[in-house]
């Protein structure tokens, strides 16, 4: 199928300069607080690398920002929407925040193309043809257009992760959340995904990147956050990542 690239939007719509603002956000589980008073801002085209040891709450924080998990204290501003603790996200906000999950979470019963077009048809209400064009554009961009008719179970880890990135980008999100995109990948597949993430960062996509890969964080991010012992420290200096303490077991 030929792609009409002229009809495909390439600029990500951004609501304002300030994309994300966390003010004293805290979350606790039954066992106790997982983190408290997390505060940072993210402006348009900024990339924030969020690092921390396993269990420090990075994924929980990403899920809170994505509106998939509630929070217990503080305040969160996404674009122009102000969300307070214990208040559900307005429905229209979903779909505008792209999430790339650690284990990609592709829908196994849908083809690669079906995975990417689902949100376009159901949320953006595009026609089948428009959704297909948009999806193929993003798949092409991620270098996986040739896999459009394959099912997720038949793809390698790196291919699945690239499809997941294409699926999120196809929705034109103003904020992209990546949760350890290179986890569970061998070094070669991880390298492929790192290249795509770096390309996204260079193209000006606003991102929060959760990663254990300090090299990727240093290359992709303009700001760095360290989530450790329930506190979040944010800096423009990558040297902050040197404070990362892995527990000995």
């Amino acid at each position: 199928m030929r792609l009409d690239l002229a009809s495909v939007p390439t600029e990500l719509p951004v609501p304002s300069t300030m994309v994300l603002r966390l003010d004293g956000v805290g979350k606790r589980f039954d066992a106790g607080p997982i983190f408290e008073r997390v505060s940072f801002n993210l402006r348009r085209r900024e990339v924030l690398a969020l690092c921390g040891v396993s269990g420090s709450g990075k994924t929980t924080l990403i899920k809170i920002i994505a509106g998939l998990v509630g929070f217990d204290e503080g305040r969160l501003e996404i674009g122009e929407t102000d969300v307070r603790a214990d208040v559900r996200y307005p429905n229209e906000l979903y779909g505008k925040i792209g999430v790339i999950f650690q284990d990609h979470n592709l829908f196994p019963h849908l083809t690669v193309l079906g995975n990417v077009t689902l949100g376009l048809r159901e949320h953006k209400r595009l026609s089948v043809r428009q959704a297909k064009e948009r999806a193929l554009f993003e798949l092409e961009h991620m270098g996986v257009a040739s896999l459009a008719d394959r099912y997720p179970a038949t793809l390698s880890g790196g291919e699945r992760q690239r499809v997941a990135i294409a699926r999120a980008l196809a929705m034109d999100p103003f904020l992209l959340l990546l949760d350890e995109p290179t986890a569970n990948l061998d070094p070669e597949r991880a390298e492929e995904v790192c290249e795509r993430v770096l390309a996204l960062a260079e193209s000006g996509v606003t991102m929060v990147l959760v990663t254990h890969n300090v090299i990727l964080a240093r290359q992709a991010a303009s700001r760095f956050a360290l989530l450790q012992d329930g506190c979040c420290t944010v800096s423009r200096e990558p040297a902050i990542l040197d404070r990362l303490r892995y527990r000995r077991v």
């Binding site: 979903y94 505008k96 999950f101 979470n105 829908f107 949100g119 159901e122 929705m171």
Partner: protein, 214 residues
């Protein structure tokens, strides 16, 4: 007639079971209680008393309460309804098991794409749940077909009698029980094997199509 009873009651059971599933998954307490109550009632009620109540008790109640005679010729419909209610209780539980087996991360992924709760159920949860519980559903539909023999307890007209009932009728006329019953058993066996094969084949083809291991 066995095939007709099995097909119509199976279809009815699938529709009723799906509605009960909606109740059980509802956020509203009374609807959930209604779903649980349906399953508790029709899963624990033996089929024979249920069919006897529907075909003998219900017409009696109708006449006593309304003072009018119960419409004639509804025996087959009531038998099918009884079978459908009984099977629906089991199907609802199987469907619920399928829905809860879909990974919550799938729902999170669909939510992050902006799908509404209805679209998530329609596009993500139900298609995956159907594949997960296909073998169990196939077994239940076969069981429903075999249950159609219980209609024997209801005096159905000859032209709508299922195969075991027909076998009994012929045996009563010829005083020979073996041949008609062996024939009825063969018919049931053939239908059950064919139905099981078709449903399991569909499930394995689906698994192969999406590249998942069976």
């Amino acid at each position: 007639m066995t095939m007709l009873i099995a097909a119509v009651s199976g279809l009815g059971a699938a529709i009723i079971g799906f509605l009960v599933l909606q109740c059980r998954c509802s956020a509203r307490g009374p609807l959930r209680a209604l779903g649980v109550g349906f399953v508790m009632t029709f899963r624990n009620l033996p089929l024979v008393p249920l069919l006897l109540f529907l075909t003998f008790g219900l017409p009696g109640l109708w006449t006593a309460l309304s003072g009018r005679p119960f419409p004639r010729g509804l025996e087959l419909t009531l038998v099918i309804l009884g079978l459908a209610l009984n099977t629906a209780a089991y199907l609802a539980e199987i469907m619920l098991a399928g829905v809860t087996a879909v990974a919550p991360q799938q729902v999170a992924a669909a939510r992050s794409l902006g799908l509404t709760p209805g679209a998530i159920r329609r596009c993500v949860i139900y298609p995956q749940a159907a594949r997960i519980v296909a073998p169990a559903l196939a077994s239940r539909f076969i069981h429903n077909m075999k249950n159609s023999t219980v209609a024997l307890v209801v005096p159905l007209p000859v032209d709508v009698m299922e195969v075991v009932g027909q076998a009994g009728r012929i045996a009563g006329q010829t005083f020979s029980w073996a041949e008609p019953l062996i024939f009825a058993a063969c018919v049931h066996l053939l239908l059950a094997v064919c139905l099981g094969h078709v449903l399991n084949r569909w499930a394995s083809l689906e698994q192969a199509r999406i590249g998942a291991t069976a």
